[in-house]
């Protein structure tokens, strides 16, 4: 199984790559020891979104399905978490049930929506249009739920002001449970990211991943090799959308609120920009690029949110025009080529003598 960590569908291999990855992980683990707690919480916030980006990388980059609906599943799972947590009285029972409900809701919605789209032979740009449409419909619907009649049990949807009152994720434990916040939240997210990243790497390099790439390249040819293309597409759509749902639950737990604006058009376009800028065909590029973009976006937002949004648009344009494969992936490829060239070059005679 571990052999699948390296393969044709993932950038980086060998001791140099894994050594560098280990150093980055160590730095991330050590960060809370010397950083301000506010910054640690902020980094945790960035990590929340990376699951959604990795899900899109899997669907779009590996399998060629551009879903504009990541925030649809993000929102469904976030609201699902909130409703169940509030109605079950929060605490370990409510929040753990909320986590499960959020993920199941996202997966089930993806299975139903994906089934009708994929078996209805909606593909290419129309796949993006339909997923965007359902996303906007959900955001619009939730925006008009301000009245008191819009409640599920004790949980008020609350229109554009958003749902509030859910606890952060809480593990069963002494004194009412172990609340997942601040530094603990940060470490749990790192653990989750490492696990998801490694599992997706193995998936990408497995026989399943080979078929996804074949479908991306030529779905008709893949079918003529005996692969049930639509079943693979549905499976990867459910998986990628469920990862968006995981981000939704984590986000709601982190902020203890969720609003329709985290689903609507600006939010829905963000995962596309992160993944396109990073390099949609590679998980490592997506992970690194999404983190960097989120960091940059928030740094700019402090001064002007409009400027940050314009810059995001400009980055997408620059990616499409100049580096269609993605900036981070492009830099990674360049580094790999330089390393290979250095290895191939014979050692100078003078240096050998010294």
């Amino acid at each position: 199984m571990l052999k699948l960590l390296d393969g044709p569908q993932t950038m980086g291999r060998g001791p140099a790559f894994w050594g560098a990855a280990g150093l980055v992980l160590l730095a991330a683990l050590a960060y809370p020891l010397f950083a301000d707690p506010y910054d640690v919480g902020n980094f945790g916030y960035f990590f929340v979104w990376i699951f959604m980006a990795l899900g899109l990388c899997l669907m779009w980059g590996l399998c060629g399905m551009l879903s504009f609906g990541q925030t649809f599943f993000f929102g469904l799972a976030g609201y699902g978490y909130g409703v169940i947590a509030i109605d079950l009285g929060n605490g370990p029972l409510g929040t753990m049930a909320g986590l499960a409900a959020g993920l199941v809701l996202a997966a089930a919605a993806a299975a139903v929506l994906g089934y009708f789209m994929i078996y209805g032979r909606i593909n290419g740009v129309f796949f993006g249009i339909v997923t965007l449409s359902v996303t906007l419909a959900l955001a619009y619907f939730l925006g008009q739920t301000a009245g008191p009649e819009w409640a599920i049990g004790k949980a008020r949807l609350n229109g554009f002001n958003g749902m509030q009152g859910m606890d952060p994720l809480t593990f069963p434990g002494p004194d009412g449970g172990i609340v997942l916040e601040e530094t603990l939240f940060y470490y749990v997210l790192i653990l989750g990211l490492v696990m998801v990243y490694l599992l997706l790497r193995m998936l990408a390099n497995s026989r399943f991943g080979n078929v996804l790439v074949a479908i991306r390249e030529d779905a008709e040819r893949a079918e003529l090799l005996g692969y049930d293309v639509r079943r693979y597409q549905l499976a990867v759509f459910v998986l990628g959308s469920t990862l968006a749902g995981l981000s939704g639950v984590l986000y709601t737990s982190w902020g203890q609120f969720i609003t329709p604006s985290s689903i609507g058009l600006p939010a829905a376009s963000m995962p596309i920009i992160w993944v396109a800028f990073s390099g949609r065909t590679d998980l490592t590029a997506t992970l690194v690029g999404t983190f960097l973009l989120l960091l940059g976006f928030q740094s700019l937002t402090i001064y002007s949110q409009e400027t940050a949004l314009v810059l995001m648009g400009a980055l997408l344009m620059a990616t499409v025009l100049f580096v269609p494969r993605g900036f981070v992936l492009g830099i990674g490829d360049l580094l790999a080529r330089l390393t290979m060239r250095r290895r191939r070059e014979p050692r100078p005679a003078a240096a050998a003598e010294v």
Binding site: V211, V213, D218, R221, E223
Partner: protein, 240 residues
């Protein structure tokens, strides 16, 4: 000989146009069966009916004793068909070796994959091209690679739609040799083709289609000697 593929009264209508009309066809195990005919005869339509791209308007298709009339293409492939369409259809951005790997990964034990890839690359004359993106190969090499991908499935029946389209005479001859080698290994082949030199080189049995119907069938020698076939191909009326 066992009948591997059998079409019974297969028709296909497009609106008011009947492209294939009540075709009966049997392909026996071990033969190289060529389907020929002039342009518009319905060869490609019949091929797409066999592979599952089109559903027949009437008639049944049986493969290895199973009724596959309504089966999707991937189900037919899982039953033992393997298909090479007319235009080269390879994964252009992926290396040649990975193209073969994707084709054979479910048909060859993991420990033997690398060796089997090497064997096929040698067989296809692409041994030095394994790391190149398939899209950089010449047209002929892409045709061979696609045949290789079809062969990698270890099929019972290899279906080839105009495998020599766009090839030079030399490449056509080499393709014929490749098909003969595969058939010698026990593979049954059904090829749609209009290049008669290629048909003469490989076919053990020939079916001629004309205006969507079976016009003649027999061995290559019988078909070549049939003046009615010459007439529909060349427009030369035969002596009464």
């Amino acid at each position: 000989m066992t009948t591997l593929l059998e079409l019974q009264g297969v028709s296909r209508r497009f609106g008011g146009f009947l492209a294939v009309r009540e075709v009966d066809l049997a392909v026996a195990a071990g033969e190289i069966h060529c389907l020929i005919g002039p342009n518009g005869a319905g060869k490609s339509t019949l091929f797409k009916l066999v592979v599952g791209r089109y559903e027949p308007s009437a008639g049944r298709i049986h493969f290895r004793g199973h009724d596959v009339t309504r089966d999707a293409p991937h189900s037919r492939v899982q039953r033992g068909m393997s298909i090479k369409m007319q235009a080269p259809s390879v994964f252009r951005a992926l290396p040649v070796r990975q193209n073969l790997h994707i084709a054979m990964q479910h048909h060859v034990p993991p420990a033997e994959l690398a060796r089997e890839e090497e064997r096929l690359l040698e067989l296809l004359g692409l041994a030095s091209e394994g790391a190149r993106p398939a899209g950089e190969l010449s047209h002929g090499q892409q045709q061979w690679l696609e045949i290789g991908m079809a062969v990698a499935l270890k099929p019972t029946l290899l279906l080839l739609d105009e495998p020599t389209a766009g090839l030079s005479p030399e490449e056509t001859f080499r393709t014929g040799e490749l098909v003969q080698r595969l058939a010698a290994g026990g593979m049954t082949v059904l090829a749609v083709e209009h290049d008669m030199s290629f048909v003469k080189q490989i076919a053990t049995r020939v079916t001629v289609l004309h205006l969507g119907q079976v016009f003649a069938r027999g061995t290559v020698e019988e078909i070549v000697a049939d003046p009615r076939v010459a007439e529909i191909y060349l427009g030369v009326p035969h002596a009464a």
